[in-house]
Symmetry: C2
């Protein structure tokens, strides 16, 4: 299952050191293997493989007992308990071409009472040609989804199937945010606040529009819009210390951003960007300054991160210097960036497990206060990052 790669390394220096060992007392049915260790700046960590052979895993959530729900993009929802996986039935009809498929999974904050599981996916039109990011919820009953409810879909069907966004985040008031990518073909739609493409929308848990959304009553902006001018947000998290919403956003080459998401703000894409055209390396936009009407990113990642899942380190779980740091996964960069914030500014970063786990797709905090990571494409895996010592 693992591809083994031999590379000449003349000096190990600060790079992560790979160890292959078996954790004491592995969970039943699963040899939990330590696949990488790293002596980071303030914390020795190790990555334990919890499950392998995942096909394009995308989203990760935890049931109250600590077992996991994992989406596979081709259209499967897996329940993983002690490394043993069971497929969950009752999904909506998923269109899994290109970047589309079954995407994020999040539990309702009161899941233990109501059993609601929220899922995003790419939904095709009747001809099966054009798609939208869509949001459903259903109750989890054993290994079946029941009472499936269609809650929301973006208001513009688009081809090809790129830039879905589709992360879900519940806020403390019980509403949820869903990120919607610009869909790729016509980036300028991210500047049209009547078009959901390239935005963050805010919904009630039943899919209705909260009355206090920033543009309710404004006929020039869709009611669901919370913020817009985004290219493709694939990491979003609530900071437990500040209540702020942080998001990582795919820019064009060199334009990946860390944004602090505020209601009613326009984040500038594609009018303003540091990014460059993938083919020509020409700047995407002549404009690099956001001006008064657009909100600049807090950070632009150079080199490229190709950001995916975003988590916050819980307090008292790792070295205290890690408390409430952001952990931003990267696809092309194949690492997790540890980001230290102070007063809304990025003041430090460190690379976690560069190249050790492959492409990082999702990063979440588990109920065990460890950091959980989904990786890879066709041979994906689920890993748990633990402090050592």
């Amino acid at each position: 299952m693992m591809s083994i790669r031999v590379r000449p390394l003349l000096a190990l220096g600060g790079a992560s050191v790979v160890a292959l060992a078996t954790v004491a007392s592995p969970a039943p049915g699963q040899a939990q293997e330590v696949v990488a260790e790293q002596r980071t700046q303030y914390q020795q960590i190790r990555a334990v493989e919890v499950a392998g052979d995942l096909e394009q895993p995308w989203g990760l959530a935890f049931l109250p007992d600590g077992s996991q729900l994992v989406t596979e993009r081709p259209g499967r929802l897996l329940h993983i308990a002690d490394g043993e996986r069971t497929q969950v039935s009752g999904l909506p009809q998923v269109s899994s071409r290109n970047q589309g498929g079954l995407l994020d999974v999040v539990l309702h904050p009161d899941f233990e009472e109501n059993g609601w599981v929220y899922l995003t996916y790419s939904k095709a039109d009747e001809a099966g040609q054009e798609t939208v990011p869509a949001l459903v919820r259903a109750r989890l009953d054993g290994h079946a989804l029941v009472d499936l409810e269609h809650l929301f879909e973006s208001n513009t069907y688009t081809s090809p199937g790129r830039h879905y966004g589709s992360r879900i985040l519940f806020l403390e008031d019980g509403t949820l945010l869903m990120t919607i990518g610009d869909r790729g073909a016509q980036p300028e739609r991210a500047q049209d606040p009547m078009d959901h493409s390239g935005s963050v929308v805010r919904l009630n848990a039943d899919g209705t529009v909260p009355a206090d959304n920033p543009f309710v009553g404004d006929d020039s902006v869709a009611d669901e819009i919370w913020s817009w001018g985004h290219r493709n947000i694939q990491g979003i998290v609530l900071h437990p210390g500040t209540g702020e919403v942080w998001a990582t956003e795919h820019g064009p080459r060199g334009g990946d951003e860390l944004n602090l998401i505020r209601p009613g703000h326009n984040y500038g894409w594609p009018t303003v960007s540091l990014g460059r055209d993938y083919r020509t390396q020409e700047p995407w936009s002549d404009r690099r300054e956001h001006g008064a009407e657009m909100t600049p990113p807090v950070w632009e990642f150079l080199p490229t991160l190709a950001p995916s899942g975003l988590a916050v380190v819980p307090a008292d779980a790792f070295a205290s210097t890690w408390d409430h740091n952001l952990l931003a996964g990267g696809l092309a960069s194949q690492r997790i960036q540890r980001i230290v914030l102070e007063e809304g500014e990025v003041v430090h970063m460190e690379e976690i497990l560069p190249f050790d786990l492959g492409r990082i797709r999702d990063v979440r905090t588990g109920p065990d206060n460890h950091i959980w990571v989904l990786t890879g494409e066709n041979e994906g895996g689920l890993y748990r990052l633990e402090p050592v010592g």
Copy 2:
């Protein structure tokens, strides 16, 4: 000589791919092995090992015939021709404790006429306890240095032996710059312009002070000072397109900087820094804004680069998108950062050969228009980066 490391990698993605092959027509006496290949964003490249088994190599220069001079920090100067090495005699007395030793090597721009080789090194006081960065020149006669001349030494002997700086750069007017680190023990000396520590000094090729240095005649600043407020510059290069001097500077953790060096400017260390204390992760300084009297960096590297040698890609040697990009080596980061500048701003970066060659100590442009790299500590190597296809 090579340590082989097996690491599990579940998806190769954009990471560099290692190939082990032999280049056609290797130079006599040397099997030149391709030790790494990378498909970068605009250019396929490979790294060819020219020489291995170097002991703490530090500086690299090219003779007119394309053969190389390499300093080894313990106090050896090697001439390497077609991979065959010969030790050069006639060095000054080098103190090689801690970060000290034989450091940079640069040829006079008119070397073919005058034979002058410039070397920096750590020079001990008579008791052998405290040291300064010092500059000498000597003529190269076969494999001997002759006519050794002591040109300059920093005006403050210091213990312990850290933060020497010691890069040499000839400017187009025939003067040279030498970087001097803050020496570690009392960083605030970098703010004292009477103290050479933590500065860039400018000298004539014979070691005298140019009459047009910015502070000649000012009794409050040492005559040699070109710029100050530096922690430890270990990469410096003249940009052939703009005539600008660019330098990479070691900050404390998280404070590594790319600076555009201008005469008479104060770059702020240690009064202003984004960096953090290595042990506590506390900010080094409360002050993050440079204000009017200090010059901010053009870029702060996050995550840390631990910068070493700095080169500019020559025009028409690699893909045109690489023309005049900076290539900044990194020690702890074990990579070379390709940096795209536009109008004095950093607009793009890419990682070159991350972890493939180990700790990068020096990066230079060779007379063959390829990029040459010195790596490693006790088992260092000399590599040539070439375009493929």
